[in-house]
């Protein structure tokens, strides 16, 4: 099960967030800060999966933008890893060469995300 989906830049600014479980607003900010911190602290040689508290983070970096997905223990890391890339490919096509600012145009991104999501057989 996917718990949340985040797009955060290196400065720690959230570009897109979507939670699949209700989290209080003030706790979201805290969580996002911690998540991006743990992603930033990792080098390229390290693997893209982090065990964080009782769930797992799967992240990919595209330029200065991190896409982080939080999942619970039963989820397959590699599937999510590839899913992130799939999503970015869709965005890239949609915006014809996607950039970080495009992502902020989240109403569209959200729709793209949701469609990709359902298309690839997640929900």
């Amino acid at each position: 099960m996917i718990k949340f989906f985040l797009m955060v830049n290196k400065q720690g600014q959230t570009r897109l967030s979507k939670y699949y479980e209700h989290v209080e607003i003030n706790k979201r900010t805290l969580l996002e800060t911690e998540v991006i911190k743990s992603c930033l602290s990792r080098s390229n040689e390290q693997c893209s999966f982090i065990e964080y508290k009782d769930f797992k983070l799967i992240y990919r970096q595209y330029a200065a933008l991190f896409i982080v997905v939080g999942v619970n223990d039963t989820e397959n890391e590699m599937a999510i890893y590839e899913f992130i890339h799939n999503f970015v490919e869709v965005l890239d096509d949609y915006f014809s060469r996607v950039s970080e600012l495009d992502v902020s145009f989240f109403s569209a991104v959200n729709q793209v995300f949701h469609s990709t999501w359902q298309r690839t057989g997640w929900s």
């Binding site: 600014q13 959230t14 890391e77 902020s104 145009f105 109403s107 057989g121």
Partner: protein, 1097 residues
């Protein structure tokens, strides 16, 4: 670029581009001139969090003004909504806009509606109250002719929907499953999946439709249905075995590249779909050879086609899973694993350790644990520490090569894991030490090593150990430092005292240390330190510490006694506690005779309070304590024994133990001051009984004899006999519920599994209690049954004389009770062992096992045909529970003596035979269901009836519960049909009369700790004793034991064998009910039923 991208893009409704020139998706960039673009850019340019906050607060106040202004158009509102979402995403509260988001979804055109829905899905959560306002909009949109609107409605439903409103949209969504557009069908399936997640019961009836979706010609719809199946199969894989073939076929098609090319991702066919299918197959094939065989081919195919990925962690993970099947596989990858172990990435390291954990054995344990400890020392994260510490402890316990290593490893675990680790770890460790293995010398060595190791650890200056570690140390030192050769107990005490005075330890730990000192004190010769300690802590502000200190102080005054009380190395023996606090009876009686109010249990007080609030009471002292009122409240036991007790008799019933927590509390005090304690021992330990203890017993017995008056002369002559009796009765119920035994009822066993043979099965105390009544006639002034120790000698010859002895005993009881009832009533059955810190582990609170396994049920022979049984036993009427055009299922209850037998009779109404009829009862929380033979019938012939029987036991008392199940069958070899039903079971279905004599009633009454009293107003028709009795007898299935004047004694038992006794008294139109049982909750439930009967008719 993958094909799946193209597919997604075509599927995307180009809605949000509607208001722009039709120049394609790229035009989206143009919208950055919008105000949102401005906001985003503004924020991106900022450098500090503070500036961001200022900007957003300003933005929010602007938005607040705009959204509430009446002039704001929907188009502007959409613009505002987008900005609001952005603000909230950054962590600023925008709740003022929620209602406007819903309005926008209601009123807007397509684009505005879409933004409205999006905002709702992001803002609100499942239980948000505003969500209810959305339901109408969703219903309207679902009925819309515009596909896009239907899509949006389905999307929002699959994201967020209030559970209680599901029925409002369910039929609409079900219709959509037949829609001609696949996107609608797919979204409808996903919406139903959502419903399944939040309210599985509501979509139960559409399971067949899910099967249709699984076979949908569109891959998307099929894929969506897999979510539901994965979920359902996870919950109950056996119900979907028949679908294995379908899943295998689908996977075959996917792997074989039969799907449209759009589903390829980097030339892998639908990878996510494959994963989903493999998960489902995994669940279906688990522990099922036959089903698994169906999958082998396709799994092999999938494996062959899958390109192996090279992410190290992933490989390790895979290896971890594989190794669970076959550890030797790891050998091939040894070098990789070693490399991973030194990998700079801690995540990979951890995965590696996880893998090592799986392959640990007795040979490699030291190395692996060392690696784990190294990692542990570097790690800072609590979650990791907790996890790893648990693993190390587990491994160490399992494979420890020698004592020294084990203790050292556990020391490391305790120092690092400290106070975050799972509390089971220290508990298990201490239990291991205490209970030991089979080899006694080995045990002693282990203990000695632990003691030595802690002794040295405490010597180190300026080191702070976690509290838990200190607690472990103090327990071990207190318990086992007698094993030390050189160091005297004084030294240990001094050390502990030093620790006690340190500031860094919590008061909980201090309590542990004082307990350790208490244990050591009898072994020490000089006691300066102890005295200092007592002096210091009897004035402690901490009540608990002060209590401990006082206990120590008083014990310390009588060293000889203390030695007997705190024997060395006896932490494993059980103790039995008198939960009924009967030793207080004398005190209570005295108080009562001086006019004190009798104790009322909490619930009674509350009810009285409630009833007083409701109606004006015209009887100001309805529950007066005048002498006449009092005599009516005498112990029913006394009455039943035919004795004329005066007002100052003891009031044994005035105890409420439900609210008292006895576990872990040391009972040191009795009426006379200190309660001497002894441990209830099993036979083979008797020989090892320390001499001093016997002395004490002698002394005490002497004391008692001198204290008591002439009545003892009579008993004393019988003393020897009684001792034998007690001994035999002590052991007659070894591990069984002896109350029932006494009464010649079914013998049910309750086992208590322990890891070590040394700890014997707990003796059940009921027998003793009954027997104690006789003994207490000469030990009434004391609260302990010293006699036991004597009796132990006579264990051997108890043999089969038990029965005879018992009857003799009851004669004794009978004769004595007439003259010495007040004494008899001072039952004393408080047998305590030395205070142990692990009281929870080996303390038996004085209740019979609440639910002895329904062994009886399985023994029922059902050779007799059902009809015979039906006539033999009481049974309920046949009621139909479910039906359809082919079958009708009816059920009835047969109240057999030893269980409740539920019979479902299935009548085949149709003219054809039904195949593979199968009736299953869902496991219910409070019921234990035993299937009777012949429950799965291959064929039900046309127009015939078949019966399915289940015997049901109640696991713990409660008022009523539901038993649900289903029947499925196949018609004409084609489709299978499933019908669901449920039956209501009440507590009364499990109540049976308990046929006992008045004497037995008296004995049992005194032995039960749980009681409930209540006054019930009777309806006019019942206001006489006979009719009351009749009602109770018939409605509640109580056995009338005796009737004395206007009082009645009734008894019943909850199957399999929990007895409950009722004493009632009629005065006026009030009925004073008084229940007692060995089970703490049963009286309450019975009382409720009683009230129903009384008020109902």
């Amino acid at each position: 670029m993958s094909d799946i991208v193209e597919k997604t893009l075509t599927a995307l409704p180009g809605l949000f581009l509607q208001n722009q020139s039709a120049s394609g998706p790229a035009a989206a960039k143009a919208s950055f001139s919008s105000r949102l673009g401005g906001l985003v850019r503004g924020i991106t340019a900022l450098t500090s969090k503070h500036e961001e906050e200022k900007l957003i607060q300003q933005e929010l106040s602007n938005l607040k003004a705009t959204v509430s202004a009446p002039t704001t158009t929907l188009k502007m509102m959409k613009e505002c909504m987008v900005r609001l979402i952005y603000c909230e995403m950054l962590g600023y509260d925008a709740s003022f806009g929620y209602i406007h988001a819903i309005k926008l979804a209601q009123q807007g055109n397509l684009l505005e509606k879409r933004v409205g829905y999006l905002a709702v899905s992001l803002f609100l959560h499942e239980s948000h109250e505003l969500l209810l306002l959305l339901v109408n909009t969703v219903v309207k949109d679902l009925q819309s002719t515009n596909l896009v609107e239907v899509c949006m409605a389905l999307t929002i439903v699959s994201q967020i929907f209030p559970r209680e409103m599901i029925p409002a949209v369910l039929p609409l969504i079900e219709d959509k499953l037949q829609h001609s557009k696949e996107i609608i069908r797919r979204k409808a399936v996903l919406a139903l999946y959502k419903f399944y997640l939040i309210a599985p019961n509501q979509v139960q009836h559409i399971h067949i439709k899910f099967r249709k979706a699984l076979c949908d010609r569109d891959v998307g719809v099929m894929a969506a249905s897999l979510h539901i199946y994965l979920r359902m199969i996870k919950e109950n894989s056996s119900a979907y075995k028949d679908l294995t073939g379908s899943f295998v076929t689908i996977l075959k098609q996917v792997v074989g590249g039969k799907l449209p090319i759009d589903f390829n991702y980097h030339s892998v066919p639908a990878p996510w779909l494959q994963i989903q299918l493999l998960r489902i197959l995994g669940l279906l094939g688990k522990d099922d050879q036959r089903t698994s065989e169906l999958m082998y081919d396709v799994l092999d195919e999938s494996l062959r086609r899958a390109e192996l990925n090279h992410n190290v962690t992933y490989g390790l993970k895979a290896l971890t899973y594989v190794i669970q099947q076959d550890p030797t596989l790891a050998l091939q990858h040894q070098m990789t694993i070693i490399e991973c172990l030194d990998h700079p990435d801690p995540i990979i390291k951890r995965e590696t350790l996880e893998l090592l954990y799986r392959i640990t054995n007795a040979q490699n344990i030291t190395v692996i644990v060392q690696k784990m400890l190294e990692y542990l020392h570097q790690s800072k994260e609590e979650y990791i520490i907790v996890n790893l510490v648990g693993k190390i402890a587990e491994l160490a316990e399992k494979y420890a090569p020698d004592n020294a290593w084990f203790i050292q490893t556990m020391n490391a675990v305790f120092s690092v894991g400290g106070d975050v680790m799972h509390p089971d770890i220290p508990n298990n460790f201490l239990r291991l030490l205490a209970e030991g293995f089979d080899d006694e010398t080995e045990n002693q060595q282990l203990r000695l090593y632990a003691v030595q190791s802690y002794f040295t650890l405490l010597d180190v200056e300026n080191v702070f150990y976690p509290q838990r570690f200190l607690q472990v140390m103090s327990w071990v030192l207190g318990e086992y430092s007698y094993l030390l050769d050189k160091e005297t107990p004084e030294e240990v005490i001094t050390k502990l005292y030093k620790l006690l005075r340190s500031d860094s330890i919590s008061s909980e730990t201090k309590a542990w240390i004082i307990a350790a000192v208490t244990k050591l004190t009898p072994q020490a010769h000089s006691s300066n330190v102890v005295e200092r300690l007592i002096q210091e802590f009897t004035t402690s502000l901490d009540t608990c510490l002060r209590q401990h200190a006082f206990e120590l102080k008083h014990l310390h005054e009588n060293v000889k006694f203390m030695k007997g009380l705190l024997p060395v190395d006896k932490s494993c023996e059980d103790m039995v506690v008198d939960a009924s606090l009967s030793f207080l009876d004398g005190f209570v009686a005295e108080e009562l005779s001086q006019g004190a109010a009798p104790y009322k249990p909490h619930h009674q007080r509350q009810e009285e309070k409630l009833s007083q609030e409701k109606v004006l009471s015209f009887e100001p002292y309805g529950l007066s304590f005048s002498s006449s009122g009092f005599s009516g409240r005498q112990s029913p036991a006394g009455i039943s024994l035919g004795s004329d007790i005066s007002g100052n008799s003891t009031e044994t019933g005035l105890k409420e133990t439900n609210s008292l927590k006895l576990e872990g509390i040391k009972k040191l005090w009795g009426k006379e001051g200190y309660l001497p304690k002894k441990e209830s021992k099993t036979g083979d330990e008797t020989e090892a009984l320390p001499v001093p203890q016997e002395n004490i017993i002698m002394e005490n017995v002497d004391q008692i004899i001198t204290k008591n008056d002439q009545s003892q002369a009579l008993t004393q002559s019988k003393e020897e006999k009684e001792k034998q009796l007690l001994a035999s009765s002590l052991f007659v119920g070894l591990g069984s519920e002896s109350t029932i035994n006494l009464l010649g009822k079914a013998d049910t066993l309750s086992h208590k599994f322990r890891r070590k043979s040394k700890v014997k099965e707990t003796k059940s105390g009921q027998t003793t209690t009954a027997q104690n009544m006789t003994c207490s006639s000469f030990s009434s002034s004391s609260n302990v049954t010293y006699e036991e120790d004597y009796y132990l000698d006579h264990l051997q010859d108890r043999g089969d004389k038990e029965v005879k002895k018992f009857s003799l005993n009851s004669e004794l009881l009978d004769s004595e009770s007439l003259t010495e009832l007040p004494l008899v009533e001072k039952i004393s059955n408080c047998r305590l062992s030395a205070p142990s810190l692990f009281a929870d582990n080996n303390m038996e609170v004085f209740h019979p096992p609440q639910s002895t396994a329904a062994s009886v049920a399985s023994e029922i022979s059902l050779a007799a045909s059902l009809l015979e049984e039906t006539t033999e036993h009481m049974h309920s009427d046949l009621t139909e529970v479910c039906n359809n055009e082919t079958i009708s299922v009816s059920s009835y209850k047969i109240w057999k003596d030893e269980c409740l037998l539920m019979v479902w009779s299935v009548f085949n109404k149709s003219a054809s035979e039904l195949k593979s009829a199968n009736l299953e009862i869902a496991p219910a929380e409070n019921f234990k269901i035993t299937e009777q033979p012949g429950c799965c019938l291959p064929v039900i012939e046309a127009e015939s009836t078949k019966n399915f029987q289940y015997s049901v036991q109640m696991e713990k008392p409660f008022t009523e519960g539901n038993l649900s199940g289903f029947i499925n069958y196949q018609v004409m070899d084609t489709h299978s049909v499933q019908l669901e039903f449920s039956v209501n079971l009440s507590l009364l279905d499990f109540i049976r009369p308990l046929k006992i004599s008045t004497e037995d009633f008296g004995k049992l009454w005194l032995s039960f700790a749980n009681d409930v009293k209540q006054n019930v107003k009777m309806s006019e028709s019942q206001a006489a004793l006979p009719s009351t009795l009749k009602a109770l007898q018939q409605e509640l299935r109580l056995h009338v034991v005796d009737i004395i004047g206007n009082e009645g004694l009734l008894a019943c038992q909850l199957l399999p064998s929990i007895p409950c006794l009722l004493h009632f008294r009629v005065h006026g139109d009030m009925l004073a009910l008084w229940f007692r049982s060995s089970c703490s909750t049963l009286p309450d439930y019975l009382l409720y039923q009683c009230q129903k009967v009384m008020e109902g008719s």
